[in-house]
């Protein structure tokens, strides 16, 4: 707390926050136009978590994402053209059009992938950390998952594995208060889910997930702790979705007053204010970042819309040989 950060660093944080925000809103438009098909789970309202966590990781570290994974992917430094191309199912997409929104991955860039199965990424991330521990290469894995996933058995199992093997893994529990449409209060007696880590002997924190600097600073500490062989760390980040579970879910079950409470604590606005107040950026400079981001995303949309579809014959030939 109270660490001073350079203007350049705070600009980077805000650039990522704003990129995620603008990306999601722009892609929702593409979805409404019928250019993006299938499921699309926006990260709107949760931007500070991915942004803060990924800023605290090194280039060789790993992340494991979720079905609500665009933010993680962007914060990890993904190429926006290849991302949107993937969302459109196009050939130059990260998964050659086979993955889509729910399976976007950049294994070479350390993003081991989003996941269509809630909770399934937790053991995968623990496994990446296990590999790091066996090799002694000092890499840390950050696993994003949700309050919903924390009610799946693999959360308990995998956290225990990480604990008994002292693995360098940061378990980032994005508590957005809903498992699809089920409120966390309905399915948990203790809604502060960081409490669960303590029973497993895991260092556990509960943070304001909308505060990008808090997320960054505490994740840095967690990563250092992991690299010193004192992992894992569980970070519960409290947050709230700005809309329903996916783009076609109006989220009528989300109480208005609560949504307004969180909208007033908008992570992107908090990051913007932080850049101005702590970083000393002028309004014009902030707008400059925003314009740059918007241009990059419009360029990516243009690229993706024009990009070719995957080659059907090549795909079928591959299926034949892989059998």
């Amino acid at each position: 707390m109270g660490l001073s950060h350079s203007k350049a660093f705070l600009s980077d944080l805000y650039r990522t926050l704003y990129t995620i925000r603008f990306f999601e809103n722009r892609c929702i438009k593409l979805y409404r136009q019928g250019l993006i098909r299938g499921y699309f789970h926006p990260y709107l309202g949760e931007e500070a978590i991915a942004t803060g966590v990924c800023a605290a990781l090194g280039a060789n570290d790993y992340i494991v994402s979720t079905h609500r994974g665009h933010g993680h992917c962007i914060a990890r430094g993904a190429d926006l053209r290849r991302m949107i191309a993937e969302l459109l199912g196009k050939a130059p997409g990260y998964c050659a059009g086979r993955g889509g929104s729910m399976h976007i991955a950049d294994v070479r860039g350390g993003n081991l992938g989003a996941n269509g199965i809630v909770g399934a990424g937790i053991p995968l991330g623990v496994g990446a950390a296990l590999a790091s521990s066996i090799r002694g290469d000092g890499r840390v894995a950050a696993v994003f998952f949700s309050d919903g996933a924390a009610n799946n058995g693999v959360f308990a199992e995998a956290m225990n594995l990480a604990a008994i093997w002292d693995l360098p893994v940061i378990l980032v529990l994005e508590n957005n208060h809903y498992a699809v449409s089920t409120p966390v209060e309905q399915v948990c007696r203790t809604c502060d889910m960081a409490e669960r880590g303590k029973g497993y002997g895991v260092e556990s924190l509960c943070l304001d997930g909308n505060d990008v600097l808090a997320m960054y600073e505490r994740t840095r500490e967690a990563a250092e702790r992991c690299r010193a062989g004192r992992g894992p760390v569980l970070i519960e980040a409290k947050t709230y979705r700005h809309m329903g579970h996916h783009v076609n879910d109006p989220g009528t079950y989300m109480p208005k007053d609560r949504l307004e409470h969180y909208l007033a604590r908008d992570p992107v606005k908090i990051g913007r204010r932080c850049l101005i107040e702590k970083g000393g950026a002028s309004e014009a400079e902030v707008q400059g970042i925003e314009t740059e981001v918007e241009r990059a995303i419009e360029d990516a949309v243009e690229f993706a819309v024009a990009a070719p579809e995957p080659d059907l014959q090549a795909f079928l030939r591959e299926v034949e040989t892989c059998g």
């Binding site: 399976h103 294994v107 081991l112 199965i117 053991p123 995968l124 496994g127 990446a128 594995l161």
Partner: protein, 332 residues
Amino acid sequence: MSQTSEPRQILYREALNEALREEMRRDPAVFCLGVGIADRGGSYKVTVGLLDEFGPKRVIDTPISEASFTGAAVGAAIVGMRPVVEILFIDFALLVLDQVVNQAAKHRFMTGGIGRVPMVLRTQGGVGSGLAAQHSQSLEAIFYHIPGLKLVMPSTPYDAKGLLKTAIRNDDPVIFIEHKLLYQAKGLVPEGEYLIEFGKADVKRPGKDVTLIAWSNMVPRSLAAAEKLAAEGIQVEVLDPRTLVPLDQQAILESVRKTEHVVIVQEAVRRGGVASDIASIIGHEAFDHLDSPIEICAGLSTAIPFNLRLEAACVPQEEDIIAAVKRAVYAA
């Protein structure tokens, strides 16, 4: 292969142990994990001595958290390790289906061919002697059905060693199913290095009258049946696919075209089984060569009972195989 020395008689479980040991020496990315595999050396003693040689970082005892330690193996494989997971009984592999089917099997595909999951899941199945309904199943069909998985079921110590080494070096997830009654089986195994290519069936006994396709513990049982049938003048060709995925269709069809009669023996229940699929392939590809209907000799569609007499009635026995061969040969 080249460095092979004089073969010795060793046990199936010892052959598997040699494969693990050789591969772990060869490649530091190979490591083993599972319940009771380190200190205890595994319930069936396959991993005995590995802890002493390779230490606790590479021979890892796990809690009984199958889904998560298998998932951890998948994650480690994605980042370049070559884990060998042991699931004590194939019945418990049902707990890891998400990690195997939704994660391991699909990762390479979903990443547009960039990701790899070079892991081996070793497990064992089949009836033992009174292990009852939750420790006796033959569940290969579940994995056979899933694109993205290789499926290996060795019947001899020689095959067990060569196939496990190949499995460990394979860049895709391999389900390696051993049989609990085969761990004590003896056979000739060369001391040094050799690999067995996936998708290459092995003729365990040549014959001209009928093609008998069997895998895992049904191979020795079928060979015993073939020996008796030979005394009655029926020459059975016993063909062991060794890997069900990939399946050596060519070897199967060549044998069928020669003998014109087919028996497929599987321990698993018949409904939805691998035998039915092999029969459909033969029916389609070699229809004109068949001189009689394809006989499938399979387990009954039931859970496995505890009582030994009842248990024996549920899976193909030597006399069932003999009867099936006679039906195939004399139906013409």
